[in-house]
Structures are given as C-alpha cells and as structure tokens.
C-alpha cells in the first residue's frame, strides 16, 4: 500500500516486524544517493541502493560536442580524480583521430594521473573517517591532500578540474623547477601517510568496527563484477596498470597490493597502500622522464575521425578500471559515447554485503566500496 504525496515520494504502510528505512539523500552517511534498507530490530534484512540523483546525461551530451569541447564535462563525474576519469576518453580519441603522443607528455600524464589518484584517495579516506565518527581522520587527509592539490595547481592551473589531458598530449608543459618541488612534496606526503597507521589503521576501534564486516569472498567479487580496490581486497591480483599497461606504465616497476580478507578493513587498507605505490611510481616517472621536448601534438581545429570506427579504452582509476567506449561515424562529434564506471560496478555488491549486518555497520561497509555517487550516475 503506497500513497504518492509528491512526484517520486510515497507513503508506505509499515510492516509489523520489518521496518523500511530511507538513508539519504539528506543523511550524513549516504552522500548523493539513497539506500532503502529493511531492518528487523538492528539487523538489515534487505537493502536496495537507489542511485541516480546526479544523473546529468553526460553520455548524451557528448554526442553534440566535438572531441575537444567534450573534455571539460567528461571530467566532472569525479572532479577530484579528473585526470583519471578523462584518461580513457583521451586515449580513445587519440586512436580515432590517429595522433601520436610525445614521450614527455606520456610521462607528464602518468605523474598527473598518480597525483590525482592520491588526491582522490585522500578525500575518500577523509570521508571514511567522518563516516566512522573519527574526526582526526577527516582533518589529517583533508589537510594533507592540499599539498598535492598545490602541485596539480602548479601543473595545470586549476585546483581540481584540470582539463589537462587533451588528445595529442597535455595542455601545458611543466612549470620550471616542477620536478624538484614535486619530489619534495611527494616524499613528505609519503612520510605523512605512513603516520596514518598509528591513528587509523592500527586503531583498535577501527579494527573492531570493520574487521569481518561485509565480507566479500573471492568468487563473489569476480561474479558480481567488482573492480579496483574492492577486487584486490578480496584476493584477486588485478591492476590494469600492470595487466594492460597504457602510455608508459609498462616501463615503470609497479607492485600490486592484494589482501585476502575481503572485509571492510581490507577494503579500507588497500587504497592507503595504493597511495604509497603511487608515490613510488611518481618518483620513477620523474627520473625517467625526458628532460625536454614537445608535450602536445597540435590538432587541426574541429578534427574529424578518419574512418567510421569504434574504440574501447580502459584505465585504472582511483576506484578501479574505468572504460570509455566511443563510436564514431566520421563526423566531428562522437556518434555514441559510453562510460563504464567502476563506482557503479562496485555498488552492485552493496546489497549482498549488507544482508545480515547491523545497521550501524552500514556506513563502514558502504563507503569501503570506494564509491563516488556522481560517477555512478554520470
């Protein structure tokens, strides 16, 4: 029995034992989405995530913008990971337009994308801390990520929305003296994040709240199609930077962090280990980068693709593998563009993980899925 009181809002008759609870969209523990949970006492019986509050039609919009003007709005799904979310589109457009990328630009892209991964994970960690009621863990990452944002601001001119990657390279060359500053900041950053172990990861309160909650087995992780840190926390060694290297990742030495437990603790620890790996990658890339050279192959205005073609490119973003499928019919705009986003694929695991959990464990399981609602809705 439901009575509609507003478009999309309804009153529901309450069951005797099972209670339906709406968590979000206005809730400190939900973000830009709604989770409808049914609880029996304190235990969750069923859970139905309801995304789509930020569906802005990115894919449709891409069909009436040309290959260059598509850049700004395609990085908006995850503005704090904007280089990575743009990466597959840029790789795909390059293949369609048939452009070569200079060597130095490839290294700059790797550095920018790793810096962005750290910026994303730090924000994620800050929110994870505040979800668990751990205010220090909000303040520390939120403060430390500003140093990396400064670096990106030096490089591209904007705090979060860089629009730095373009088909054919990167928009600008590095500012003078960037390498030294970057190395110094990254070393400091790595020292700082190691201190998080004492305040957060070895904290008995965190461990008691996240260990053995929301366990995702290896088989389930593969069956449900999760990616990224969720998959690696369940014991699957899968990282696109190693398995399907793009740009210059094959020349760098990358270690994949894998944990076997598959619980919320493992899922919260893997991104933290990933950040340290990112610091390693940045140091290697700074060393191997050609010291001078061009960074951008200039395009003609309004470039057209040569033949009708399709292309699918994937990269490893801060959340997992992010794909972009472009169909071109030889015009200046893509005929169809599809983003395959990791957030949405990780969200699918949520109803399975929450069944039988206590309601109080919901935030720690939900946010451990490395989920960003804006990206899932596109």
């Amino acid at each position: 029995m439901t009575t509609e009181i507003m478009p999309g809002l309804a009153l529901q008759k309450v069951d005797e034992r099972i209670m339906t609870l709406n968590v979000g969209p206005q809730h400190p523990g939900s973000g830009h989405m709604r989770i409808v949970v049914q609880i029996d006492g304190d235990y969750i019986v069923a859970c139905d995530p309801d995304p789509g509050y930020v569906h802005r039609g990115e894919e449709k919009m891409a069909e009436y913008r040309n290959y260059i003007t598509n850049i700004p709005h395609l990085e908006r799904p995850v503005i704090h990971d904007s280089c990575n979310v743009l990466y597959p589109y840029v790789l795909g457009a390059e293949e369609l337009l048939g452009i070569e990328v200079p060597e130095r630009a490839k290294y700059i892209r790797v550095i920018a994308s790793e810096l962005n991964r750290c910026i994303y994970i730090m924000y994620w960690l800050a929110i994870y801390g505040i979800f668990l009621g751990h205010s220090t863990m909000f303040m520390w990452p939120a403060g430390d990520r500003e140093f990396l944002i400064d670096l990106m601001e030096k490089m591209s001119g904007a705090r979060v929305t860089h629009a730095h990657f373009v088909p054919g390279g990167v928009r600008n060359d590095l500012p003078p003296n960037f390498e030294d500053v970057c190395l110094r900041q990254v070393n400091y950053f790595e020292k700082r994040i190691k201190e998080y172990a004492a305040v957060f990861y070895d904290n008995p309160i965190l461990i008691s709240r996240t260990q053995d909650t929301g366990v995702l087995s290896k088989q389930d992780a593969i069956r449900l199609g999760t990616t990224g840190s969720v998959l690696r926390a369940s014991g699957v060694d899968y990282d696109l930077r190693v398995k399907e290297p793009y740009d210059v990742y094959d020349e760098l030495d990358i270690h994949t962090n894998v944990m076997k437990e598959g619980d919320a603790y493992a899922r919260s620890r893997i991104p933290w280990l990933d950040m340290m790996e990112s610091c390693n990658i940045i140091r290697q890339a700074l060393q191997k980068m050609p010291k001078s050279g061009s960074v951008r192959t200039k395009l003609k205005p309004n470039p057209k693709t040569k033949v009708p073609a399709t292309v699918y490119k994937r990269v490893e973003s801060g959340r997992g593998s992010l794909g972009c499928y472009i169909v071109s019919d030889g015009k200046t705009e893509p005929y169809r563009l599809k983003l395959s986003v990791p957030s949405f694929r990780n969200l699918i695991a949520l109803p399975y993980l929450l069944k039988g959990e206590k309601l109080g464990n919901m935030p720690s399981v939900y946010w451990s899925l490395n989920y960003w609602p804006v990206e899932a809705d596109r």
Binding site: M6, R56, M61
Partner: protein
C-alpha cells in the same frame, strides 16, 4: 477581567497577539542582537547534490577552516539547521527532495547557491535531466560562482551572507 477573556478556545489568539507586540518591541532594540547571534551560528544542512561537495568538504579542511567564520561543518538534523548550501547540479530527481528539505527546516533559513550549476545549470545547461538553476525551486540569498568555486570563494559567499543577515529585519523571521 483578563481571566474571563482568555478561554481555552481563544488562548492561541491571545498568544499570537502577544507575539505581535513582542515582535514590535524587539525589532529595534533587540534586532541587532538577534541578528548578531544568527550570523555566528550558521549550521548547514548535509545535503550534497553534485560534485561541488568536494570543494565544500575542502572548505572545512584545516587549510581553509570555515568554522572560524561561524559556519559549522555539515550537520545531520534538519531541525537544527538554518543554512542550505546547494552544492551544484540539481537534477529532476533531486529537485523535489531539495524542496522537501527546505520546507522541513524551521525559520530563519538561508540559501547559498554554490557553483555554476546551481546558478544557471552551468556546464549542463543543455542536458535533459538538469534544472537551469535552483531559483525555481527555492529562494536563493547568495550566489557563489565558479565550477567548482574555490573554498576561498565559498568562504567569501558565507561572509556576504552574514553581511546580508546583519542588515535584515530580525522581525521578519521571529
């Protein structure tokens, strides 16, 4: 005499009249004091609508620390809030919820439209699912431009709002 006049049926009328008289009395002398109290305790609602929430979060980080201007981090309960910061795009699905949140808040309440999307639709002006600005949904006090606005810009918007509250008639909201 007075006792006979006030019966249980019309008691609320008398209370209302008393309220009117009080309002007039506090308008001039106490209005300043009330507004002064309001500007240093703005509590934003925790409603995130799109990607601008990243910069809203950064504004309460140690570097920007919006709390020193009397604006506390986003808060859960609507009944204790008096500020809605609309953090970006409002889609057709979110608009009724935003209105519902706004209607549930007690007076006085203020609205900051943060980001180009909340002002005019911004980058998504021609998308099929995005409203061209929130003026049609809730009344806006301060517009903070940018895509996303830097935390400094947001803080400036909050200070502008405080200036505005200082000049408002306290009586309007009692």
């Amino acid at each position: 005499m007075l006792k006979d006049l006030i019966t249980p049926e019309n008691a609320n009328v008398f209370v209302g009249k008393l309220g009117d008289i009080l309002e007039k009395a506090i308008d001039k002398p106490l209005g300043y004091a009330i507004n002064w109290g309001r500007i240093w305790s703005l509590w934003p609602v925790h409603i995130e609508t799109a990607c601008c929430s990243v910069e809203f979060g950064a504004a309460s980080s140690p570097r920007y620390d919006v709390e020193r201007f009397g604006i506390i981090e986003a808060f859960g309960s609507l009944r204790q809030c008096d500020l809605v910061v609309v953090q970006g795009t409002i889609t057709r699905k979110m608009a009724p919820r935003l209105r519902l949140v706004y209607d549930q808040m007690p007076e006085p309440k203020y609205v900051i439209a943060m980001g180009a999307c909340a002002i005019t639709g911004g980058l998504y002006f021609d998308s099929y699912n995005v409203l061209p600005g929130i003026d049609g949904v809730i009344p806006v006090d301060v517009y903070v431009p940018g895509c996303p606005p830097r935390p400094e810009t947001l803080i400036q918007g909050c200070i502008l709002l405080q200036e505005k509250i200082k000049r408002m008639k306290a009586r309007k909201f009692v």
